[in-house]
Point group: C2
Chain length 453, copies 2
């Protein structure tokens, strides 16, 4: 860790490049691990990224390239020589190649595919054959297969003799056992193999009642299953139960981290960034938020129309307008609380679409409770500061708005799930629009009723 | 998977219990895996949970108990017999015991500690000696240690002869190598051990330049490191570099999933739930949101005061009030977008506290861009629908509010990190309060200047 006060390595490299001191930069980079270099690239703009990358040693460059986000890889490709691109691309796993091919423009994709040999192109083609967001696109290759008739000793020997590169060997914790035509029979864990007597048969050591996942299944669901059920790996099978790949816990972690970033971005009202924050240009940041901001603003014009309808009421009692931000703000907060809780519960599998009625009933009760509490405080404070009729209006409005907002807010993620839209994306604009507009209508109707205007 | 239309197993069990048909419920439970039972418990209220749990077979009950959230375990304990509690508790890992001890009231904690034998109490005590939220509280025990002088064959033999229960053996993917006084010398991976020649020495197979983590380090930081650097396990050391535990990728996944749930809850404005949504009572749901809602509402009263200051302006031009929700809503959205992006970047380590100036500069530019776009649209639409002076006011206000909101919003998470508060918790109320109030002031000042009121 860099001692406090001293500039970090990225700042130093940035400084070297500004001064044109290529030797110093190359020297600093040589002393870094691939993970550190990746972090440096994540904090540098597109121009610096290309320059820095070309200063790396070949094997470090290959490792770093494989660890970048597809967006970063795509940007780099335009700045690299064709032979270098070919080497980088060929070293990616088939799933990494597929993701990059999705990211680049069509002509670049054709060019990249052309650099692969027929075996590699077959692997890439197989992965691309799976739908977006499916396990098939994210799984790793099957590196070793065992047969049920092998002994533990023979199995370990086959591991020793395999030509799997050491980098990938590290990931083998659970080995699949296949029968005729690659049908998956079971899994045996390396720790079990290594701690069993040498003559024990794989057929006796393996677990047959084994979890597996279909290649066409949703990748996020599979990843959560892996994590929730404490598995180290899941064999991936096709429709005929043949083993086609392996999804490891590391793969699952990466999938979930990406989902997290996407969800966080969308519930905050912007498109997720496809690369580290500081390496994203200002223009791209604006573009990632523009659409959302526009959608939300258009939704908010509904409040303008509602307020116009009640403009005469406002003229008669201008004091009513001073509470508007407070009331709809509280409605928005309440709705967001409910939506966030239900969205998270849906993601974890704690709640399913069929629970809609049960969820809305609970949230109605929760909203009532919160509204009663806030409403009482509002009644007393507004009553004392202004006048009791005003207090009554504020109190009743808070009660109604909280109940309404919690119910609506809890329903949005479930509706989103049903129509196949991302709950985080769907809920935010609907809650602001619907709850704000309805809340204002409720406010003015209560005010008219209580104050007789 | 249950076919569509048929009630799931949880609903069926719930139905059995309503009818008092204990035999049917017991039968159904007997056919479930511990993971399925855990899901059933996650959808049942506290009363049903106790009943269901007592119907389980002993070994299933022990496995299920270990997989529950500490809150659920705590609730269960009050409903179980002392001997059962003793068995459940003793079967937990030391870290699980520590978490449960933190959850239960003091007398219960004393009683639980009393059920442990001296060796177990020592382990639990050691874990409790670490601060909350530290790696020491979440790490697993060291199950096997290797010596540098061993051969690969001897190492595997020691694995075979160890009395580590099979459940925990599954988790051993990377084995620590220790020297005198348990000083950590390096790590060797099981796949490497298993695929190496039998006479190879552990000292030659191990990696000495090994990542390790201090037991006092923050658990979330360590978990992200594990995930980001694609490690399978991290050895945990004390101040004297002695090996005290192991943090596996599975441990890291659990830590990050909990952080995710906490962050999602807090950024949505509520306290995180300590158990699955449907098993949380309505009362607890209200309590988890009440404080936040109150804090946000109190912050929002600032807008009431600002609007009072400008009440005369509003009286002169009531039409100004119809835009208030739209304007501060847009400010809130812009601020949230910025805060969400920066919060996520901070969590991933893409941005650090020292980047504050760089971040605010970018977000100022982003806010300017977004505000210019929205402001132009607002100018034209409001100008055409109402009058051009109004259009100018709306346009200028949107420009100012977006710029202000993005800058403030991006700064909040960084300030939160600096003062040691959770960024997700800190940002939301400050953005709503500060941006809303400042936004209103800006609006009315611009209106007064342009419209001459």
């Amino acid at each position: 860790m860099t001692p406090k006060g001293q500039p970090g390595p990225e700042t130093q490299i940035s400084g070297d490049l500004r001064r044109g001191d290529v030797e110093a930069a190359t020297d600093r980079l040589r002393r870094m691990s691939p993970a550190q270099v990746r972090r440096v690239l994540g904090r540098s703009g597109a121009g610096d990224v290309a320059v820095i990358f070309r200063l790396l040693e070949k094997n470090v460059a290959v490792a770093v390239f494989a660890s970048l986000e597809p967006r970063q890889q795509s940007q780099l490709i335009t700045a690299l020589q064709d032979e270098d691109v070919q080497v980088m691309f060929a070293h990616l796993q088939a799933s990494g190649q597929a993701r990059l091919l999705d990211e680049v423009p069509a002509e670049v994709a054709q060019r990249l595919l052309g650099t692969l040999n027929s075996g590699q192109r077959e692997d890439a083609g197989r992965v691309l054959g799976y739908p977006h967001g499916s396990v098939g696109r994210r799984m790793g290759p099957v590196l070793i297969e065992l047969r049920p008739g092998m002994t533990a000793g023979e199995a370990l020997q086959s591991l020793r003799e395999s030509d799997v590169p050491e980098q990938r060997l590290r990931r083998l914790v659970s080995l699949p056992v296949v029968g005729r035509a690659h049908r998956l029979l079971g899994m045996v864990e390396l720790t079990v193999l290594a701690s069993a007597p040498e003559h024990a048969r794989v057929a006796d050591l393996m677990t047959t009642d084994v979890d597996s996942v279909a290649a066409t299944e949703d990748d996020e669901t599979a990843a959560r299953r892996l994590a929730a059920e404490d598995l180290l790996a899941l064999p991936v099978i096709d429709v005929a139960s043949r083993l086609v790949g392996v999804l490891t816990l590391a793969d699952a972690s990466r999938i979930l981290a990406e989902e997290e970033t996407e969800d966080a971005a969308r519930s905050g009202g912007s498109e997720p960034l496809a690369q580290p924050y500081l390496s994203t240009s200002v223009g791209r940041l604006v573009r990632s938020r523009m659409v959302w901001l526009l959608v939300l603003a258009v939704g908010a014009t509904l409040t303008v129309q509602v307020l116009e309808v009640f403009e005469s009421t406002l003229e008669e009692m201008v004091v009513l307008s001073v509470f508007v931000p407070l009331l709809i703000g509280t409605g928005g907060n309440t709705g967001n609380q409910a939506a966030t809780t239900v969205t998270r519960a849906l993601a974890l599998g704690d709640v399913r679409s069929g629970d809609a009625l049960r969820v809305v009933r609970r949230e109605f009760a929760v909203g009532l409770g919160l509204g009663a509490m806030l409403g009482t405080i509002g009644l007393v404070v507004a009553g004392l500061v202004y006048a009791w009729p005003i207090g009554v209006v504020i109190g009743l409005t808070l009660l109604s708005i909280c109940t309404l907002a919690a119910s609506v807010g809890s329903l949005m993620p479930i509706i989103a799930r049903q129509i196949g839209v991302d709950p985080a994306v769907f809920s935010n604009p609907f809650i602001s629009t619907v709850v704000d507009a309805l809340g204002l209508i409720v406010y003015f109707l209560i005010a008219q009723a209580v104050l007789g205007i």
